[in-house]
Structures are given as structure tokens and as C-alpha cells.
């Protein structure tokens, strides 16, 4: 539980176990969904839609297109459930389809494709109500400033990895068509850069 007023303090150990718990839950629900349990599929939708949303948005698609892609991806899953062999493959499969459907829209020229940085700026400027909350959260302001100094590829990778579970990194990498052997170093380099930049900020401390 998050205690109001203490949200600014990061809690790294909780982050690790939270990701492990989420991973277990997703595996259990995936297994249920693959065995035709609709209620597990429904729960899986709640659990994984934020990740799929992040994938589409990281490709720079606007909100309406992102909604279409996410919904289409889930429908394709429904009609292909019998072709997925095991629950561990499901998240990677979903991310693969989400990426493919995103690229399909970009290829069709249906929407302009801003860079990941512009997307971040857009989403931060779009809703002024959100913006106020962000300004109130100083850590977000610093993080946003630092993210804008990273290469687009890093911003894309980091935001998707941030929404995935630890054991799923490899699946996510494969789904994004980054060679599995290189995702570690790539993620490492991106995280390393981000970490160094954050530490150099006078208004940021790694608790």
C-alpha cells in the first residue's frame, strides 16, 4: 500500500518483489486463459493492458490509434488461443502482435509518427490536470527532464521494460525484435546512462 505523503520515497526492494508477484499472477492467469477460462482472460486484460498500451505509445501512435491496436491485439489473441503452447510464451506473443499492429498503422500512414520524446512531451502537456499533479511531484519532473536527454531507443526500451516483469525481459526483447543477446547490454547501457544522469541532478537522490 502506498502511504499518502510518502510517495516520493522510492522503495527498491518492494519493486523487486512486486514484479515477482505480478509475474506469478500473470503466469497463473495466462494458464487459465489458455485453458479457456474466460474470467482469467478478463483478469489478464486488466493486468496486461497497461503494458500493451505502453508498447503502442512508445511507437508514437496517438491515443485513438493506440486504443484500436490494444483492442485488436486482444481480439487476435482470443482467436488464436489454441495456437499458443504455454503460458510463459503469452506475454511475448501479445507484445509481438502489439508491435506488428502498431507498425501496420504507421506503415499505412494513418497517423503521423512523432518520436518517443515528443510523445512524452505530448502526454505531459495534453492534460493540464495531469500536468499539475506532475509538477507537484518533483521526482517526476526530474525524471522527465533526464529522459529527454536519452536516445529515443533508450526511452522506448526503458518505458516498456518498466511495465514488464523481471522474468519477462527476454520475452519482451524478442517481441521487440531486439536480439536476446543484446537486450541485456542495451538495457544495461540505457539504465546506466539514466542512473548516471539522475545522480548528477542536484534535486535527485537515490534513496
Amino acid at each position: 500500500m502506498t502511504v499518502p505523503g510518502q510517495a516520493a520515497a522510492p522503495d527498491p526492494p518492494a519493486g523487486a518483489s512486486r514484479r515477482d508477484e505480478r509475474q506469478e499472477r500473470v503466469l497463473r492467469l495466462s494458464d487459465g486463459a489458455l485453458h479457456g477460462r474466460r474470467e482469467d482472460l478478463d483478469e489478464l486484460v486488466t493486468e496486461l493492458t497497461p503494458l500493451l498500451w505502453r508498447v503502442v505509445r512508445s511507437f508514437g501512435l496517438d491515443s485513438a490509434s493506440a486504443e484500436d491496436v490494444v483492442q485488436t491485439t486482444w481480439l487476435i489473441l482470443l482467436t488464436h488461443l489454441d495456437q499458443i503452447r504455454n503460458s510463459e510464451a503469452l506475454v511475448g506473443w501479445l507484445v509481438t502482435v502489439t508491435r506488428r499492429e502498431s507498425l501496420r498503422l504507421i506503415g499505412a500512414g494513418r497517423r503521423e509518427r512523432p518520436t518517443a520524446d515528443e510523445t512524452l512531451d505530448d502526454v505531459l502537456v495534453e492534460g493540464s490536470a495531469l500536468d499539475e499533479r506532475l509538477i507537484a511531484n518533483e521526482r517526476h519532473t526530474v525524471l522527465r527532464r533526464v529522459l529527454r536527454q536519452l536516445p529515443e531507443r533508450c526511452v522506448q526500451l526503458l518505458q516498456i521494460v518498466a511495465f514488464s516483469d523481471r522474468p519477462n525481459y527476454a520475452a519482451i526483447a524478442a517481441a521487440l525484435e531486439m536480439p536476446v543477446g543484446s537486450i541485456g547490454p542495451t538495457r544495461g547501457r540505457c539504465l546506466e546512462k539514466l542512473r548516471a544522469l539522475l545522480l548528477a541532478q542536484p534535486d535527485w537522490s537515490l534513496a
Binding site: P10, D11, P12, P13, G15, A16, R18, R19, R38, L41, D42, V45, T46, T49, P50, W53, R54, R57, S63, A64, A66, E67, D68, V70, Q71, T72, W74, L75, I76, L78, T79, L81, R110, T119, L120, V123, L130, R133, L134, R139, H140, L143, L147, L158, Q159, V161, A162, F163, R166, Y169, I183, G184, R187, G188, L191, L194, R195, L198, L206, A207
Partner: protein, 166 residues
């Protein structure tokens, strides 16, 4: 396998708990700044409650909103398609809580078209020109299912759109 499972240390790819803390903050930033629309999960769940689990997916290709909000006869036009079939619908408000839907199938054929609603279903059959009409249906979430008029009744011959709010 190194046999160690110390959560404070770096994992196989060199990510330690400080990194995980940073990732948590990135997740927090994007969750606050750009969350999925509140009703997206609900719409996905509605679309997945489809009985025709072997249906092919008709992707939403284009949506044109009416230029004028009031008294505009042109309505909202939405096109769905896959490689073999395209469905265009025009949605016009009839009353505050009902709409009229005119549809066209291409290539034209007398397929059965179902509108799955939040409450129940409506079914019509297109004419030889591929035209179909739902003269009055409740506004709200709707998913269209087209059943191909096929000689083989056992064929997996249904196509489904995503859920749209009409």
C-alpha cells in the same frame, strides 16, 4: 545458474535493486502522465465476450466524424476490413439513446450481420448489393459480427470487429 537468489544483487542481466527502483519511478511517471483510457479495459472485455472465438478480426481502418455536431445527416463513418472483406457503416443519431446504422459490405454479398450489444444482439441479412440496415439500435458499446454466406456450414466463417461506442 549461479544458485543465488539474493534480490538485492544484480540479476543475470546486471540489473540491481537501484535499477529496479528507477524502473518503478519510470512506471509511476508514465502511469500518471499517460495511462490507458479508463474504459479501455471494459471495452476489451466486452469485445472478448464474443461467442465466436474462431472469428477472424476485421480491423478498424478509418473513422470519419461528422463535421457538424447537430442536425448533420452525414453521420459518423467507420470502416472495418481484413484481406477478404470490408464493412463500412454510417451511424446517425435517431434519438438521444438510439442510432440508425447503415452498412455496406464489399465485395457485396448477402451475409448475415450481427450487432452484439451490451444487452442482447440484433441480426439482419445484407441484400445482394451488400447493403444492410439497423434502423434503430441502442447507443452504447457495439461489436459487429459478419457471418459469411458459405456453402460449408462447418467452416470457421465469422468475422468480428472490435467494440466501438455508437
Amino acid at each position: 545458474m549461479n544458485g543465488s537468489n539474493d534480490s538485492a544483487g544484480p540479476d543475470a542481466q546486471g540489473v540491481d535493486d537501484v535499477d529496479l527502483g528507477i524502473l518503478d519511478e519510470i512506471e509511476g511517471l508514465y502511469t500518471a502522465a499517460d495511462p490507458p483510457p479508463a474504459d479501455l479495459v471494459e471495452r476489451v472485455r466486452f469485445a472478448l465476450a464474443l461467442e465466436e472465438v474462431n472469428a477472424e478480426v476485421l480491423r478498424l481502418q478509418e473513422e470519419i466524424a461528422p463535421v457538424a455536431a447537430r442536425g448533420d445527416e452525414s453521420g459518423r463513418i467507420i470502416t472495418f476490413s481484413n484481406a477478404s472483406l470490408s464493412v463500412m457503416i454510417r451511424v446517425v443519431e435517431v434519438t438521444d439513446d438510439t442510432v440508425r446504422v447503415d452498412g455496406w459490405l464489399a465485395p457485396p454479398a448477402a451475409h448475415r450481420v450481427t450487432a452484439r450489444l451490451e444487452q442482447g444482439r440484433l441480426e439482419v441479412t445484407a441484400d445482394d448489393q451488400g447493403r444492410f440496415v439497423f434502423e434503430q439500435m441502442p447507443s452504447g458499446m457495439t461489436q459487429f459480427i459478419v457471418r459469411i454466406a458459405d456453402q460449408r456450414p462447418d467452416a470457421g466463417n465469422a468475422l468480428a470487429t472490435q467494440a466501438v461506442v455508437l
